[in-house]
Structures are given as C-alpha cells and as structure tokens.
C-alpha cells in the first residue's frame, strides 16, 4: 500500500469531449472565488482520487490482524479495475441484471416547488433491489470471488445494502451474513424478511445504539475471526483503504451516466447536483462525474434529524470534528472524550455518525457544500414527490429532494426565467421499504399500528398461508422476529 500519496492525483484524465470548464481544477477555481475560466489542468483533477488519503483524511486506522486482508483486497481491486474482462463482467451485470443505465427523469410538477428550476431525477430507485447499492455490491462480490472467498458479510442500516448483498450472494452462489442494528431491524422489518427470503442470515445487533455503526463493529469482529474465507462487503464509501476509493469506483457509473444523459436532454451541464449523505456512497458516485466541472455546484445533504441545534441528528460534517472511526480519519460525531455520539435520523440509511473521507476532503477544499436537512423537511419532500410525480422516494433520497428545493429557490431568486436553472437530484432509492415509517409520520395508523380504515371488514379472517409453511420457515426467522 502506498501511504505517501497525501494529495489526490489524476489516475486517468477527463475523457475527451468535455468542455473546457470540465477540465478545470474545480478546487482551485473555488478557492479563487469560483469566477472566470481557470485554465484546464488535468493534473489537478479531483476525479479518480486513489486513496489511501484524501487530503488529511482516509488511511488505515485498523487492527493489524486485518491489514493483510486489506492489502489483498487492494491488490485484487487495483488489478481488476484495469482488467478488461473484469470491467466487461461488471458492465454486463449492470446492464442485464441491475437494469442500467438508470433513467434520468425530469420532474416537471415537482419543479414548481424548487423555485421553478428544472429538476432531473437520477433514477437509482429503478435499479434491481431498489437502490444504488447494487452497483457496489456486484463489483465487490466479483472481487471476493477473484480472491477465492466463499462467504460475504455486510452491515446494513436501512436494509438496502443488506438486501443488495444478499442478492449478490444468491446470484454468485455465496454464503451471506448481514449484521443489522436491532433498532434498524425494527424500523425496516420488511427488508429483514427480504434478506432472509434471499437466503441470507440476518444477525440483529444489540450493542451500543443498535444502529449502523454497531452493525459495522460486529461485522469487523466477524471479519477478524473469519478473514480466510470471508470478504467484508462494506456498503458505503467509508472505512479503511481501499474501501472509500473502491466503493466510489463501483458507483462512478451513476455520475458518468447522468453527465451523458443531461448533456443529451438539456444540451449542457446542470447548474447544480444534489445527493443525500450518510456514509456518502450514492453521493460520491454522482459527484464524481461532475467534480471537475467548475460550473456545476455540488451539494450534499446530511440528516439533520430533529435539527442540528437539538443534538439529535446525523449531520457529521456540519458538526465538524475530525476523528477516526471504522478505519478512516474523517469527520465524526464525537464528544469531548472522543467517544462516538449516537446519531439520530428518521432515515435508517443516514443514521451514521461518520462520513466517507473523500467527502470530508471535498468539504474542506470547498468543492462540495454540505448542509443538514431535518426529518420534517425530508418527509415534506417525500410526500411532495409522491404526489407531484407519482414516485415514492426512499426517505434517504427525500433529504436530497428537500435540499434541491432549497437550492432551486436560491439559484432562481430574482431570475426572470427560473427554468434556465437545471438541477440533478440523485434519487438513490425507492420508498417501498419506508411505507410504514411514512404512514406513522403522517398519522395514517391507528392506535394498534394498523392503517386507519383497513380493519372494517366484518368477514371472518382467513389464513392466507398454510401452517406447514410457517413451520418450515428459515430458522433465522426467529432472529428477526424480536423487533
């Protein structure tokens, strides 16, 4: 592992065909005030940052026991990413299994709530398994096979990464164990069942805050003990090197597609792009396509929970205290003693007290603006998109939508033709998994947790599933039934 690369350098230049702005050093442009036309300088590209460091962030703050596994993974990944056979395999699965490229859909009615700016949705919700997570999972599972590993372990927050991991394991014939905070199991019971239906074992984690960070701790403990046959399929662009650069690599397809699609539909680059930030994998995938386009403003929206001022939130970068957690130096929600602070968000997928190290770097150099979105703002946007566009977003993605509404209103302020402003929002996942949370939020449930108006039938209830099937259920079902 190369530990001296403190400054990200371009490992591959901007593809031909970008305009001059596309070649500019965005960070320099920003620090210089962001005006004018900086000279193209591919040597200072922000794209393809290889790690292990992103500025002073990243690295490997990990037990020695796992360093050999990280070295093996790094070596396998570095070879694979320049291996045409591997890239063809990923591309084939993306196309014929995940359903890529995902659509870029203009949200014309939703636009009215964003100051009239034109809003384009990058439809990662349409991918197989319902979110962007499948991009990374297929790539890493293929790498695991290359390393001869037979067992995948994963952490999951909202359950989307766990479902995606279980899916990849089923597709490639591998064993899969998913660690999930017990609190998240409760919030996302449907996804627990989905993982089990896919043949995975779900382990509810009752340590600590019983959410994503604790699931990662238990997955790391499993990995240390079983590293010989097990790959830890980390689901976000965080953790020890090579995970942040590798997870981004598999998600770069989001930004690459979006860039081509917007140029095709609009004839120019967007004015701004928006994504939600938990660990930050969907965001870094989208951002990567536009990092060197100085004219494109980039926004990451963190989970503001009850409001940053209440302390009950997951706005890691907004809080602004660097530290080390789960293998990387990055911004971290921590107290004065360096103890990790429990995060809070209505969105299980954003309920994480850390953030990927590349985001910390992009924040520090000012290339990306990170802002908090409260639960209330996100849920308003959730309802709005559902009822203006007929698309139910994941609550995670609703944070990006709420942010885009603010950005749209800001950028169109005082403009005679607000539709001159165009914004891409990464719709990172679909909201099917969030129906129960949303129903509770919007007061649609009765005191028994049933949807109001659905318990009026006077006919005798009929069993829909034969008892024999229930008896034959996966023994693992017992684990998941305790929420």
């Amino acid at each position: 592992m190369e530990l001296m690369a403190h400054v990200p350098t371009a490992s591959s230049p901007e593809p031909a065909g970008g305009n001059d702005e596309g070649m500019a050093d965005a960070a320099t442009a920003f620090l210089a005030g962001g005006h004018g036309q900086p000279e193209p300088d591919a040597g200072h590209s922000l794209r393809h940052a290889p790690g292990p460091y992103f500025g002073s962030y990243g690295g490997r703050w990990m037990p020695e026991s796992l360093i050999a596994a990280l070295d093996e993974l790094e070596d396998t990944f570095e070879k694979a990413k320049v291996d045409p056979d591997f890239l063809a395999e990923v591309a084939e699965l993306n196309k014929n299994y995940s359903g890529r490229p995902s659509l870029l859909t203009e949200a014309k009615r939703f636009s009215q709530h964003a100051g009239g700016a034109r809003i384009f949705l990058k439809r990662e919700d349409l991918n197989h398994t319902g979110s962007h997570k499948i991009n990374n999972v297929l790539g890493q599972a293929l790498l695991a096979k290359r390393m001869g590993k037979t067992r995948l372990i994963a952490e999951t927050g909202a359950g989307q990464h766990g479902v995606a991991s279980a899916t990849a394991a089923a597709l490639l014939g591998m064993e899969c164990v998913v660690y999930m905070g017990a609190e998240d199991c409760r919030r996302q019971a449907l996804n627990v069942a989905r993982m089990q239906l896919l043949g995975a074992t779900v382990v509810p984690v009752t340590n600590g805050s019983q959410t994503l960070k604790d699931a990662i701790n238990d997955a790391l403990r499993d990995w240390v003990a079983n590293v010989d046959n097990t790959h830890y399929l980390l689901g976000t662009a965080a953790g020890a090197h090579p995970f942040p650069a590798m997870v981004r690599f598999f998600h770069e397809v989001i930004g690459e597609e979006a860039r081509v699609q917007i140029l095709d539909q609009l004839g120019r680059l967007p004015d701004a792009i928006c994504a939600c930030i938990g660990g930050g994998s969907n965001a870094i995938g989208l951002f990567h396509g536009f990092l060197d386009d100085a004219s494109v403003k980039i926004y990451g929206f963190e989970a503001g929970g009850d409001g940053v001022e209440t302390g009950r939130h997951a706005a890691t970068i907004t809080l602004g205290r660097p530290g080390v957690l789960h293998g990387a130096r990055s911004y971290l929600m921590q107290d004065d003693d360096g103890q990790t602070v429990e995060s809070h968000s209505i969105s299980a997928g954003l309920d994480y007290p850390g953030v990927g190290p590349e985001h910390s770097y992009l924040h520090d150099i000012g290339r990306v603006s990170y802002e908090p979105i409260t639960d209330t703002e996100a849920m308003d946007a959730f309802k709005l998109l559902s009822q203006t566009e007929g698309i139910i977003p994941a609550i995670e993605s609703a944070h990006a939508l709420a942010g885009a509404m603010k950005v749209g209103q800001r950028l169109t302020a005082g403009l005679a033709t607000p539709s001159d402003i165009a914004i891409i929002v990464n719709l990172s996942g679909r909201g099917d998994k969030d129906v129960e949370t949303a129903a509770a939020w919007f007061g649609m449930l009765d005191e028994n947790g049933q949807v109001k108006g659905t318990t009026l039938s006077t006919r005798a209830a009929k069993d829909t599933a034969p008892t024999a099937n229930a008896d034959a259920a996966d023994p693992n079902a017992e684990d998941a039934s305790n929420e």
Binding site: E2, M4, M62, E64, S65, A68, D71, N207, R221, G338
Partner: protein, 286 residues
C-alpha cells in the same frame, strides 16, 4: 509498502522503557512476565484502582489499564460489557491518569494504557502523552493504530519517553512484522488468534509462530495475548514467549467476585510459571 511516511526508526530498546524493565525483572527472577488487563473505571474508578493494585500484588509485572471506548472492535462480549458499563457509570478519559498514578504509587508494576486511538486524538496526542508520563505511565498499547499511521505518536512517545506497544498478528507478513518490531518500544504484542478478546479453552497454536516471527525480526521481548485465561495457558506460552497477557478472565473475575477474586486469579495464573508442573486449581478463568 512505502516507508516514506514512517517516522524515524528506533532499533534499540532505550533503558528508560518501564515495561521492558518489568519483563527483564521477571526474567532475572527465573520466570516470564505476567501482564494483566483491566478496564479503567470498571465498575467504578476506585474499584478499578483497587483491582489493579490487587493484580500487581499477586504476580502481575505489568498492568494494562484499558480506556473504555464506544466502538471497541477488537473486544469480545465480556470486555465490551464491562467498558460499556464503565462509560454508563460516567467514566471520563482523563480519569485514566488518576488510576495510573494511584497504581504506580502503590506498586512496582509498570502501568501501560491500552486504548483505541480516537480518545487520544481527541485530547491531542501530545497532551495525552504528557499527562500519561506525568502520571507515571509506561506507555500505550494501541489495538487500532498501526505504525503506518503513527507519526504523531512516534514524536510524542519519544518526547515523553513512553513505550509504544504495537500488535503483530498471525496474518502479518514478514515485512510487516519487521516494520512493527522496529517501530515498537517495550514489547511486541503477539495476537494469538485471528479474533477478538475473550477467554478460550485452548491457546491457538498460531501464537508460537507469531512469537517466533517477531523474535526472528529482532524483537527482544514478545508477549502473547488473546484467549489466555488459565494457569496451563500461562505455562504453555511461557515456554516460548517473554510474557503472557490475560484480560477477559480477569475482567470476568472482577465482575463476578470483585477485587478479592481478581487478586486470587492473578496469583493462580502466576503458578503457571512454575518450572515443571504447576498447581492447578478448579475455577480458574472461564
């Protein structure tokens, strides 16, 4: 791997190393060193001090005081439960200096602090080191800090004369073992097994190979930890290592029987060093 960002190397063991001196004293007495881990502030600050003094007076040459941390990825259930309880009881990181000072004042044991890295980073590596040295501490054991990332710690440990105990594992390549041995002062912590802390019925056979690799790489003192809970484990490891580290079994004893039990277990573990055979009693460890 590049060594470009590694701090200056320190091949020798300065005489100032308190933990090396403790290991050498044991050797001079014809045995190996017993190293006892206990969490700071568990179940409360004063009991933690009393327990540490008890193990030092019952055979422990080095006492390892662990800082409770919110995300202890290298710890198994027993230690995690204890440190979680300590945090719930109001443990603050700065309390560790009081504990170190009290144990140092009352016993001859070298007192190391075992800590995940973020609490040290938060206080500031230099400030933490200054206060640890002031309290009489010997140095730090750092389970999630590898030498590759330890530039600040190299500078501070040199400035304040503290030991830096890094870990080597069964998975460590010969190159990494060599690099880690060179970066270490005090002793090298050989992880006996690919796993987390916790008492096990037998000690992994991998331990002997890890110790041999570290000795081959030039380490003068190599001690074995993880899974050690019984006098017979101590006896077995003493055949090839310079010291034996016991954690979970002592924490369980403290949990179940308080200070007297943890002192008694330390004394019993010490019998493992007896030449030939040792007195085996029931109820040791888990």
């Amino acid at each position: 791997m590049s060594n470009a960002t590694l701090p200056p190397r320190h091949g020798g063991q300065p005489a100032a190393s308190k933990s090396a001196a403790a290991i050498d004293r044991a050797k001079a007495a014809g045995r190996k060193a017993l190293i006892a881990y206990l969490p700071a502030g568990y179940p409360d600050k004063q009991t933690a001090i009393d327990a540490a003094i008890a193990v030092a007076r019952n055979g422990a040459d080095i006492v390892e005081i662990g800082i409770p941390y919110s995300d202890p990825v290298m710890d198994g259930a027993v230690i995690q439960a204890a440190t979680t309880e300590a945090l719930a009881n109001g443990f603050r990181v700065a309390d560790v200096f009081d504990i170190v000072a009290a144990v140092t004042a009352e016993t001859d044991a070298a007192v190391l602090v075992m800590t995940y890295w973020n609490p040290v980073l938060r206080m500031g590596v230099d400030e933490f080191s200054r206060r640890l040295a002031e309290a009489g501490g010997a140095g730090l054991i750092t389970p999630d800090l590898i030498p590759d990332e330890a530039a600040e710690w190299f500078a501070a440990s040199d400035k304040y004369g503290l030991d830096r105990v890094f870990l080597v594992a069964p998975s460590s390549s010969p190159e990494r073992v060599a690099m880690t041995v060179e970066a270490t002062r005090g002793f090298v912590y050989a992880v006996s097994i690919m796993g987390v802390t916790g008492a096990r019925s037998t000690v992994s056979s991998a331990a002997e190979a890890v110790v041999a690799a570290a000795h081959r790489a030039g380490a003068e003192r190599v001690c074995v930890g993880l899974g050690v809970s019984r006098p017979e484990h101590v006896h077995e490891i003493a055949e090839y290592a310079d010291g034996v580290i016991v954690g979970t079994a002592l924490v369980a004893a403290l949990r179940d029987g308080g200070v007297p039990a943890v002192g008694a277990l330390a004394a019993e573990l010490s019998t493992g060093f007896a030449v030939g055979s040792y007195v085996s009693r029931t109820g040791a460890g888990e």
